[in-house]
Symmetry: C2
Subunit: 148 residues, 2 copies
């Protein structure tokens, strides 16, 4: 239901939330998130273009979050790489319907709305701070990324 790119972007941003406000290199992120590095660099470029992360070239450079994890929502990340497209007009293109969705499309759109709202109301800080009776964010607890 969600694209690979969304999955990868969320993993990357989680990693960055852990190391925030420090930056990480693409290679560091790729290793801890198990995302193919060549593709990850493209995803990160996308996140940079939309202002979710910023990049710094050269020695000591890397990728870092623009906002603090507490201010960054899952929705912002998702929309940056693969926007949730709400149904605002009849997909059959019947102009007579205008803003009114038929019962079918109203239900589909409601489903998307609930997802959108769940994502809008969750910050990265909440995700990484989860009270962790169960095992927390993949890979990070035992092997939490750090700046050397």
């Amino acid at each position: 239901m969600f694209s690979q790119t969304v999955e990868y972007a969320l993993r990357a941003v989680c990693h960055l939330a852990y190391t925030a406000p420090d930056s990480s290199t693409t290679e560091e992120i790729a290793n801890s998130t198990k995302v193919p590095i060549a593709y990850l660099s493209k995803v990160l470029q996308g996140l940079a273009r939309t202002g979710v992360v910023k990049s710094q070239r050269g020695v000591g450079g890397g990728i870092s979050l623009v906002k603090s994890p507490a201010e960054l929502t899952i929705l912002e990340v998702v929309n940056a790489v693969d926007p949730i497209e709400r149904i605002s007009t009849c997909p059959l293109g019947l102009s007579a319907h205008g803003k009114n969705l038929c019962p079918l499309h109203r239900r589909l759109d409601n489903a998307m709305a609930s997802v959108e709202e769940a994502f809008r109301s969750t910050t990265l800080a909440e995700v990484i701070a989860e009270p962790t009776t169960s095992i927390p964010l993949c890979e990070f607890p035992s092997e939490r990324p750090q700046k050397k």
Copy 2:
């Protein structure tokens, strides 16, 4: 968020719910739902394979629902053509996590669960019987498909 194929399948099944228990030809469905007929026939084949619809060849044949609209849920249609894949194990493949999802994936899976539940609890009969103060299911009210 949902594929074109899902959209087409739902439109087709809505049409069939209106004409149920009579059958409709692929061409009739294509016309009223504005789905490319050649592709629709493939989608219908998929729905037939999974037992959502049944097909009858030859003169007077066509496609009809297997269940009554009151017994058929949106979820069954969606899962027949493009199943909602819940996250049951850590996508990073960390065996240590087993059945426990990290906070990120737990949230993603919760979002899918809410969509799944909304679809599971809605029957086709409910969709087409919607109390229609607003404009109902695309194309159908003014031009409701009928057997001649």
